[in-house]
């Protein structure tokens, strides 16, 4: 540790150097006195001979490595002062660096987390999901299977190593004074071994839990435990009353275990499972398999075909006429294709942004190097060694890179957090954790730092490459400056402008599409409506009469509350409507199958949603309470299945009702009214035929309520929940919220996310293009100072000079914009399916984007152009 002591005891070593020299001096004086010189004379003589002590003291110090730090420190102070003198340059360079680094790190982190590493499961790349595709209807398939089918697939071990299945189940947790609805999953034996994740606390489900006489247990999701149970470990070992069964909580799963998006997982023999609410009482299991290494998804799908053929004969109702099996990687199944595409596109764009950010900084540094050539030549002439100049430049580069990196890390951090916050639910796998990716960050930082160091050294290299006097005599005073590299610089600007045009174009398409989406007439009013799903305990609510016994008093109580205008039962949350069923219309024959959506509702349904009646009338309370077979249809239903005929008094048959556990045996309903069309397949899908029948006709199907309030519905949540529990404390209120909220979540959240992202990139692109244009124009005009001065001395007006500089910028901008627009038109076709209500070839958008780019670009040219006009001709010429 001697070296450390030397470093810390520098004051001491300085003192020693002094006393060593002092000793020498004294000896010298003594020597002179000895040789007969008078003391005064001896002292003077010795001192004279000693000469400039400081100079060789410095030389002594230089030999000690620990003192090198002082000169490094001086280099840094000098570099800092240099940068402070050129604040505009420093700020722009640091900002461009940070922007490039930050943006690329943020988006690459998200892509990496969401696409490449979404799951923490064991060998997650081998996990596949299985789907059944209806070949007649492009998007109609089921990704869930009967237990028989699952077992057969699992036995099919030559393509799969193993397979597990889960069954969704609403779980009502009875906490005594109220009830909580939790998303449950029954999972097959071996599920936790299959995913290979150790529990966070306690234990996972084990084979013993699946024994016939085993005590009922369950495990909980980490997030649920944290959010709903205060992350309190003492809950483990406690008994919970879940759907009427007392179960012991035995473990909390790992934070990233979220299979099926469930909040709790329960063991159960498939034979015992009785699902709470299913349209027709059939249990559908989600299946995940681990594919054998070397087996492709296509091979596996082909292998499953015979199984499907076999079961299509056993369960003909479960299979469409023409079908095929599909095996897809788990990650693909969870992440929508468009989202993946979008992320890939953005990654490419951001990679380019990083590149361009670096190119910008390089341009800035080159511009600065040119203006400093003289400074360096002078310093070299005054005796600065090349090593010393390089060191000073490195210090400058280091400061720039450091500041850029710090700001860049901050941008990256903020970017990741922002993106993570605006990614809508259900867009990415719930297992995904969006966080900053360290290796990506390091890559971006290194790329940025390399640019700075590389281009920062240019002045020193130039000084050493060219002879000094040449550099002093002529720098950048040729008529148009050196042509070297000019082509490259121009190309960079053109590329920047083109990319920025494409980004801005995409962003504005998304904006316009989003605006168009929000203007879509719904046909119903979502304001002042609150809604909640109400899963009824299945043991006590089996028949229509039992369901009525809950809703009839509840709706009456709600309606009596001041502030509530209407309250209705509903089996779905608008603008997504109902249950799909085959339909027959009395007296009308047709060859193809007819389908309709239908809903189970109470008499106030139309009033809550303000859907107008076109013909006939709405249900009466009596009709609903007596479960009369009456129906309302929408306008599309009327047009499609009745044509010009009068539907009132006609009868329709909703065949789907026959398959309900609480089946309606003769599902013919008399049409008593026609209502106006309202969206029932979301905002962008065409409206489908829809029918409404009294909710009391069956005890099956999911239930919920819709409540129209007079004022803001948010404060009414508690009141409504209180009334529900007062009616039956065993009913849990699921996801109560306003209809506006659900509309936003399911309809606007995803496009808004797209908007956010492209908006961000559009803005970034604009910023970078501004910096890029500015730096190149500044560089070019700096090189032409002499020429411009000469021109002005010869009589050119300031305006001519301005026009000349702006003209150069304008040419680059025009090229860039034209290329960018051409690229945009190609891009438009790619993104067309993500747009709604706007033409990708919209002239207004194209013109607007071009205009914005042109304005911003010219503004960036204007600063150096104005500087050029201020060149003092005399000064420029005296430069010589």
């Amino acid at each position: 540790m001697k070296w450390l002591r030397r470093f810390t005891q520098r004051a001491l070593s300085e003192k020693r150097l002094d006393s060593e020299l002092q000793f020498h001096l004294e000896q010298q004086i003594a020597g002179y006195i000895e040789s007969g010189m008078p003391p005064e004379e001896a002292r003077r003589h010795a001192r004279l001979e000693f000469g400039g002590v400081e100079r060789f003291k410095e030389e002594c110090r230089q030999t000690h490595w620990e003192n090198q730090w002082d000169s490094v420190g001086r280099d840094f102070r000098f570099a800092f002062n240099c940068l402070r003198k050129d604040r505009l340059f420093a700020r722009i360079a640091i900002f461009a660096l940070a922007l490039g680094m930050g943006a690329s790190t943020a988006i690459f982190s998200v892509v990496d987390n969401a696409i490449f590493e979404p799951f923490a499961y064991k060998d997650s790349s081998q996990l596949v999901t299985i789907r059944l595709r209806d070949l007649d209807q492009a998007n109609d398939w089921r990704g869930v299977f009967l237990f028989d089918e699952f077992q057969e697939m699992k036995r099919h071990t030559h393509v799969f190593e193993n397979a597990v299945a889960n069954l969704q189940e609403d779980v009502v947790y009875d906490a005594g004074d109220n009830s909580m609805l939790l998303a449950g999953n029954y999972v097959t034996q071996g599920t936790f071994e299959f995913y290979g994740m150790a529990p966070f606390l306690g234990r996972s489900l084990e084979p013993g839990d699946y024994e016939a006489d085993a005590a009922p247990v369950f495990v909980m999701r980490y997030r649920t435990w944290v959010e709903k149970f205060g992350a309190d470990p003492s809950w483990i070992g406690k008994r919970f009353k879940l759907n009427g069964i007392s179960r012991t909580l035995v473990g909390i799963e790992a934070p990233r275990f979220a299979w099926g998006g469930a909040q709790l997982w329960m063991p159960k023999q498939p034979a015992e499972v009785r699902i709470t609410r299913s349209f027709d009482g059939v249990q559908y299991w989600g299946v995940v398999a681990r594919i054998r290494p070397g087996v492709s998804p296509k091979q596996a799908a082909a292998d499953l075909e015979p199984i499907a053929q076999h079961f299509s004969k056993v369960y003909p109702k479960e299979y469409p006429t023409h079908f095929s099996m599909e095996v897809d990687s788990f990650a693909h199944a969870v992440l929508p294709r468009e989202f993946r595409m979008a992320l890939f596109t953005f990654s490419a764009a951001v990679g380019l942004l990083l590149l361009i950010g670096c190119a910008n900084v390089a341009n800035l540094l080159l511009a600065r190097a040119t203006t400093r050539e003289k400074e360096f030549a002078l310093r070299a002439a005054l005796g600065a060694t090349r090593f010393r100049m390089v060191r000073q430049l490195l210090a400058e580069s280091f400061l720039l890179a450091l500041a850029g990196a710090i700001l860049g890390v901050f941008f990256a951090w903020a970017g990741v957090r922002t993106i993570a916050a605006v990614i809508p639910d259900f867009t990415i796998a719930s297992e995904t954790v969006i966080q900053m990716n360290a290796s990506v960050l390091i890559f971006a930082l290194v790329a940025g730092a390399c640019t700075v160091f590389l281009f920062g050294l240019v002045p020193a290299l130039k000084v050493s490459r060219w002879s000094l006097d040449e550099s002093l005599r002529d720098n950048g005073k040729g008529l148009t400056g050196s042509a070297r590299g000019a082509g490259l610089r121009n190309a960079v600007v053109i590329a920047e402008v083109a990319l920025s045009v494409a980004l801005l174009f995409t962003a504005s398409m998304f904006v316009r599409s989003f605006v168009a989406l929000q203007r879509v007439p719904l046909g119903l009013r979502t304001d002042h409506v609150l809604t909640a799903r109400l899963p009824l305990p299945p043991d006590r609510y089996k028949t229509g009469a039992q369901v009525r016994s809950f809703f009839q008093p509840l709706l009456a109580r709600l309606k009596s509350i001041p502030g509530i205008a209407y309250a209705a039962e509903s089996s779905s949350i608008p603008p997504y409507g109902g249950i799909r069923s085959q339909v027959e219309v009395s007296g009308r024959a047709h060859s193809e199958k007819w389908f309709t959506l239908f809903q189970l509702c109470s008499e106030d349904y139309l009033s809550v949603l303000r859907i107008p009646i076109l013909e006939g009338r709405a249900f009466t309370e009596t009709e609903v309470n007596h479960a009369l077979k009456v129906a309302l249809i929408n306008h599309t239903f009327q047009r499609r299945y009745f044509g010009n005929g009068d539907p009132l008094g006609q009868r329709i048959r909703l065949s789907g009702l026959k398959d309900f556990p609480d089946a309606v045996n003769d599902p013919w309903f008399e049409v008593i009214g026609v209502v106006a069309d309202a969206r029932n397949r979301g905002l962008t899908e065409p409206i489908e035929p829809e029918a409404w029948i009294p909710f009391t006709v069956t005890g099956s199907a999911a239930r919920g309520i819709l409540v129209r309030t007079v004022n803001d519905p948010t404060p009414m949540f508690k009141t409504v929940a209180g009334e529900i529990w007062a009616t039956d404390p065993g009913v849990a209120m699921a996801e109560p919220n306003t209809l506006d909220y659900f509309l936003d979540l399911f309809t606007f959240a995803q496009p808004r996310f797209g908007l956010w992202i492209v908006g961000m990139f559009g803005g970034l692109g604009l910023l970078l293009v501004t910096i890029g244009v500015y730096s190149v124009m500044a560089y070019t005009t700096a090189r032409r100072t002499h020429e411009l001065g000469l021109r002005m001395a010869l009589g050119a007006a300031a305006r001519d000079v301005m026009n000349m500089v702006l003209g150069h910028g304008l040419r680059l901008l025009t090229f860039g914009i034209l290329i960018g627009l051409a690229a945009s038109l190609v891009l438009a076709r790619v993104i067309a399916n993500q747009l709604y209500g706007v033409s990708p070839y919209d002239p207004l958008t194209i013109g607007g984007v071009a205009a914005v780019l042109l304005l911003i670009g010219l503004a960036a040219c204007w600063v150096p152009a104005r500087r050029a006009t201020r060149v003092d001709p005399m000064a420029a010429l005296r430069y010589e």
Binding site: L21, H24, E59, C60, Q62
Partner: protein, 120 residues
């Protein structure tokens, strides 16, 4: 050789390099005899060379510190005969090796130069 004084001046880098090496060798040789302080070194070099070398402090001390930094010399603070504390330099093992190498090199060089001067 009188130019030893100008060793630190700019403009004659090759010569300085050569002379600097010579100076180092002479210092090492003087120190090799016994631990010795800076003033005595300059005195001895002056003495032995019969005043041919005037070794200025501006050359001596940077050279001493440089040799110490390289590990050829080591220093210790001791009392002199007059009871005054001074920094005494001593040759290290690597310093001795370096001295031998430099002396060998110098002998060959001076032999070669002498040969040329005599015969050419």
């Amino acid at each position: 050789m009188a130019q030893a004084k100008g060793a630190q001046e700019k403009g004659a880098p090759e010569k300085a390099e050569f002379l600097k090496g010579t100076l180092d060798m002479l210092i090492l040789k003087v120190v090799a005899a016994a631990p010795i302080h800076g003033y005595a070194i300059s005195q001895r070099i002056q003495q032995i060379s019969k005043d041919f070398f005037q070794l200025p402090q501006g050359s001596l001390y940077p050279a001493l510190h440089r040799l110490e930094e390289r590990g050829w010399l080591e220093a210790e603070w001791n009392d002199t005969a007059t009871g005054r504390e001074a920094k005494f330099y001593r040759l290290t093992r690597t310093g001795r090796k370096q001295l031998e190498a430099e002396m060998l090199h110098w002998e060959r060089l001076s032999d070669a130069v002498a040969l040329i001067l005599r015969t050419a």
